[in-house]
Amino acid sequence: MPPPFPQHLLANHLVGFLGSALLLSSFAMLAQRRMTSLVRIFALQGILLTLSTLAVAILSSESHLLFSALFTLAFKVVLLPAILFRLLDKLHIQGEVESLVNVPSTMVLGLGIVVFSFTLAAPISELASTVSKGLIGVGLASLLLSFLMMITRRKALTQVLGFLGMENALFFSAINATYGMPMVVELGVAFDVLVGTFVFGIFFFQIRETFESLDLKHMDTTSME
């Protein structure tokens, strides 16, 4: 049982503030049309995550969270965006994200998801002693929003970004609900994500060689055959 969250108002508000900024960035990813901006928002999400991990680390004086924050900074702010930018560059991906559902509808859907997550998380938040009330709902909402982005966007790279966004949201929830997972798990997940991104990158080249496009609908046809 982790110690109860310090009731210091300002710090509490700070964590809440960062959480809602994270939610905001998920929304921004949903609304964004340009690929490069998407990656930038992802990097920003990494920064927010680092900050909130740091804040929780200081508040709860759990030293391992400091390392988590450092890892987050290294992986999610520096390394992954760098890889993604390189991918964009190599694959000559520019311009706009193509979506299956038009953007306003996606955003209305996104709002519905937020309402749903907040409703769903309300009883859980009552139980949680660690978290500033409501952050679970915020984490859940960000997670589902990233999922929504994976569903509604067409290009393979946006799917990866959605996946990474989901991972961010999960990480955020974990940090706030339980002061993070054991170090080994965190490290494992971080490397998994990294490897995953590499694998995706290689896949992209293969996919493009085969179909001359990164549009997912071509993969649909292969599965039919």
């Binding site: 700070l14 809602s20 609304a31 306003p104 209305v108 309402v115 009330k133």
Partner: protein, 321 residues
Amino acid sequence: MDVSPLSLRSGFFLEGAQLLLAIIGAPLLAGWIGLCRALLSNRSPAGILQPWRDLLRLFRKETLLPEGTSFLFRAVPYLVFAALASSTLFIPFLGTDPPLAPVADAVVLVGLFSLARMMMAFGAMDAGTPFGDLGGRREMMVGFLAEPATLMILFTASLWSHSTSLPAIIHSLLDASDKFHPSLLFALLAFILVFLAENGRLPIDNPATHLELTMIHEAMILEYSGPLLAMMEWASQLKLILYLLIGADFFFPAGLPKVLSAGALAGGLLLLSLKLLVAGGTLAVIETLLAKLRIFRVPEFTALAYLLATMGFLIHFVLEV
């Protein structure tokens, strides 16, 4: 009803000062934005007084009335100006409690802006040119998209005070200024989007364009000339400063004097001008960075504003209560 603790005389003074300052300051702010934009795009600026010079020049000209227009065409600039000028009395920006503020709450303000917009569209359509109709139609279109978002922003800002009365909102925000308000973060972003849309700035409308097919605001005032045109231009500058004043009230209320003394008033005014200068500069940066959106992308823009504001509202109950 006891409207205010102020005495009648000082209240009257405050309202008069608000009206005059906003009316005189609006062209100056437009000049400042133009100056920043010129510097950012590496042109030599015309100076902060340029809009005033333009207005005075227009006022000295003769009014040319297009044939076939009705009396409404002549009345519109005054109606628009009156609707916006009256708003200066209700928005607290010199002190927290202008005595006339209870006349109109935030929703009424939105209504007044909407009244001005509708009148402008009528003026545009009265001449019976394709451009006027185009401008009026597009203006109304941007309006119906931005209005629900504006309302949601007001709702979010009013959550702390449980009231849409502007002084009440400001007081509650000033009292709670030692806290972070995540909900206001959402509302602020939404406000910026709505602000750009409602005032015909990039990326919705280009205030500098006279390219026929892309303009909104300019198309509406195409047939106006002389003093009538001056009134229209002045009114739109007034609208810009009013929006910024509302924004300053909601999101950066610090430093707004609660009591009326010469010192507090001067300090508040100084701080306010600083806020407006920064806001104008930021606007110039935004406009320099962004390209104009296709007109059918505008709903996405305003839908985002609406959703952000609504999220702010919901976030308030999840994180702040």
